[in-house]
Structure formats: C-alpha cells, structure tokens
Subunit: 262 residues, 2 copies
C-alpha cells in the first residue's frame, strides 16, 4: 500500500496577510504524515517591484517576466515568502525545507518558446522533469518541502513558473509512489456557481466543467487553475479539491470546497 | 578514515559582480568530493534596501537589523543571491541545495541579548546547534549545501547572522565526521602585512596574530574574521586558509593565501 501524501498549494491573500498565514500554517502543521506546501506570492512581488521601480510589463494583456521582474520574484518567492514560511513551520514543529525548482534540481523547466509573444524568463514544466527520487528522499527523511514558484532551465537561469501548474505536475509525478491528495487553497470557499450568493459547486466533472465554461459561469483565472486541477486528476492524483485556506481541516476531510473528478 | 569536506565562505565583490561570481563558481564546481558554500550578500542588500527606502541603521557605529532590514536581507540573501548561485551551480553539474539556517533546521540561533545595544533581529550561533545529521545526509546524497547568512530562533523569526561565524561553526561541528578544509575567500590575496605592497602573511599563529593586532597591522573587519578562523582551527577543523576567490584552485592546494595554525 502506498504512503499518503498531502500536497497543498496556497495563493492569494493568505500569503501577504501575516495573521491569515499564521492561522493557515498552524492548521497545515496539524496534517499528519507526509506533506508538501507550494506557494506563489504575486501580490507581494508586485508591491516590492513597484517600490524598486520595476513596472509590471504586459504584452497583449499577458504578464512578461523581464530580467528585472525575475530579480523581484526571485527575492520575493525564493527569499521573503519562502524563508518566512519555513521559519514559521519550524516553530510549529514541522521540519520544513524551502526549495525552488533549482534546489536539488527538483524541477527543471523549459523557457517558454517565443511565438507571438516573448514571455521572458517564464518556465514551462512537465511532470517527467520532477525529480521524484530526491523529493521522496526528503519526505522519507521527515522533511516537509516548501516549494516556491521558481524553476530553472539547467543553464544557469531561474524561471518564473505558475505555482498551480507546479502543484499539479509535482502531485502527478509523485502519485506513482504515494497516494496523493492535492488541494488548491485560495480566498473563495470553492469554485462558485454564483459569486453573489457564494454558492459553491460541490463536484466538478470534466463534462460539467465544459458546460460551466460555455455558460460563462466559470471564467478568467479560474480556467487555468481548473485545467491544472483536471490534469492532476487525470494523471494519477487520488483526490483533488479546491477551497478556502481558512477552512483547511474541513477541506482536507472533504466536507467543503469543490471536488474535481474524472 | 574520515571523508574529506571542503567548506568555502565567499564575501565581497565576488557576490555582486556577475562575471566574478561565474568564474568563481566554475572553479568551485571543479572541487572533487563533498563541499559546502556559504555566502553573505551585504553590498547587494544595502543597494536594494536603499531602493526600497530602508536606510541602514547604526547605533554606536554598529549595524542594526530592524524588521525592514531583516526583510531586505531575507530577500537578498535567501532569494536573489542564494537561488542564483544554486541555478548557476546546477548548470555546472553541481547538485546544489540552497539553505538558510531555518531550512531543515540546519542552524538554530539565539537572538542577540540586549545589553547596551539592541541589534535587532541578529542571531548568535553555537556549534552545538548545527544539525550535523541532516547536513551529513545532504552531503551523503551528493547534494552541495549553499548556505546563506540567515538563521532562525525556533520561534518563527529569521535572524541576520554573520556568514564568517556560520562558516566557522559549521566547519567545526562537521569536523567530528569529516576531515574539513575551510577557506575564507575575499578580494585580497590573504591577510596583508603591507596593504600598499599587497604583502601576504603566509602563516598566522595565535601568537603572531596577537602581535600583529598590537602593532596595528591587523585591524578593523579583519579581526572578527580572524577570530572566526582561529575558532575553527581550535575546534577540530583540519585546515583553515584565507585568500582570494580569484585564485581558488591555488588556495585549496595551499600554494597561496594565509594559513591559520594553532
């Protein structure tokens, strides 16, 4: 029988509001067994970038990671956010180990090819590139990897990488060795059918997902997030759920949030 | 017979000038066997701090790490400098693993007690607090720890910590398991007897060190660095040498630099 592994991706306010983060990390620390935390930090990066005089660059509405922006996200994701989470988890008795994809080469990426847009230092990742050996070694040594949204190209460059996608492929690749539960946590109580009423869709199949998209119920940033969630469930992850970071214990038990199924 | 372990601490220009860093890392990558790299990044931290509106605070001539300064060094040491070194080493075929003292709890510190001055978030470290088990595990797994000048207090706070001192106590504690060679690398070709003539002191005993201090030949920042070097040699480290990062291969072989002996 495979060992259980819980992988949680956090994003949004929980990262930049210290009190929310502390509360979340206390709950996270209570999870028994092997676990991995994956985080971004985009809002803090934008704030620090503005202070450093690095303007967000958009081409055709898409964010571009130039050299200055890469420097900012390296400081914020790899340094400020990651090391603070690690120190806080240590104080909760969790032996956290902060990692970018470059550390121990846990995740190598390919710089996104230039088609109509040059996204700059942005990494595209595949589950075949997850270093499952070393990641498993860390887990077996009772370490809790805390992974930030940075990878590397193997040629000395760091690459800004989508944290949802990293969570999805890390979960998929580790599902060969572990029984993996993957949770995407953010502000909302789940994928919403009605934003005003905060009505949560309890279960989302690929079929109903397509319907919700056609009807315009599921739009914008929720689409790539759900694509990552469906990729995970279709690639061996045992359980995928989306919900609020403020309700972690209930979400892990499956009492709240949106369940993603085949 | 103990395995060999080379521990190198870098500081100064090599960290903030990309070309120098690249050259150094190529040479570092050629070192055979187990190795650890330890770095600061004070100059970049001062630059980024100034851009972020964080002024260096001095009390009685001593630098203070307030909350804002801690944030800057966390971004610069833990993020910008550390992750870039790791990515570059990976491209040289070295399986680097970036660490602060909080990661895997490799080094817990005590916040410096307030006597006449409150240094703020500054950590004092002891060799007994180095987590030699996990550090040895990383080395046995062919990982190369890249350690930045941050520790933690075990209560959720990161602490700014002197990189020379970290190198000294990490080397001392690991000398129980390994035959350790410790090198402090900076701009100068070694400890200088005459700055104008760049005359290097080839060998420094504790006795000659005291003489050079009395005569005013060795002054200022070189004193705490040498105190750390002598601490290491007096605590089981097999070989301690101080010299130029630009001459690493010769320094390792013992052909150049200043040798520290009992």
């Amino acid at each position: 029988m495979k060992d259980k592994l819980t992988i949680i991706k956090i994003g949004g306010k929980v990262i930049d509001q210290e009190e929310l983060l502390d509360q979340f990390l206390v709950e996270f620390s209570k999870i028994e067994g092997k676990k991995i935390l994956i985080h971004g930090g985009g809002k803090i990066a934008s704030e620090k970038g503005a202070l450093l005089g690095v303007q967000a660059k958009l081409v055709e509405g898409r964010r571009i990671t130039d050299k200055d922006t890469l420097e900012v996200v390296t400081m914020v994701y790899g340094g400020l956010v990651n090391k603070n989470i690690v120190a806080k988890l240590q104080s909760n008795g969790v032996n956290a180990l902060g990692l970018s994809g470059a550390d121990a080469n846990i995740l190598k990426a390919v710089r996104r090819p230039v088609k109509s847009i040059d996204y700059g230092f942005v990494g595209d990742v595949r589950k075949e590139e997850v270093n499952t050996d070393i990641t498993s070694n860390f887990l077996e040594a009772s370490l809790c990897p805390v992974v930030c949204a940075l990878t590397h190209d193997g040629q000395g460059n760091l690459l800004n990488t989508n944290a949802d996608t990293m969570a999805s492929i890390i979960a998929s690749s580790l599902s060969e060795r572990f029984e993996v539960k993957l949770l995407f946590c953010f502000e909302q109580p789940g994928v919403l059918e009605d934003f005003e009423k905060q009505l949560v869709i309890e279960k989302l199949t690929n079929e109903s997902y397509q319907d919700y998209k056609s009807n315009g119920v599921i739009v914008d940033g929720m689409i790539p997030k759900l694509d990552n969630a469906f990729d995970a469930i279709q690639n061996g992850v045992n359980s995928v759920r989306i919900g609020a970071f403020s309700d972690l214990a209930q979400l892990i038990e499956g009492y709240v949030g949106t369940r993603i199924t085949n």
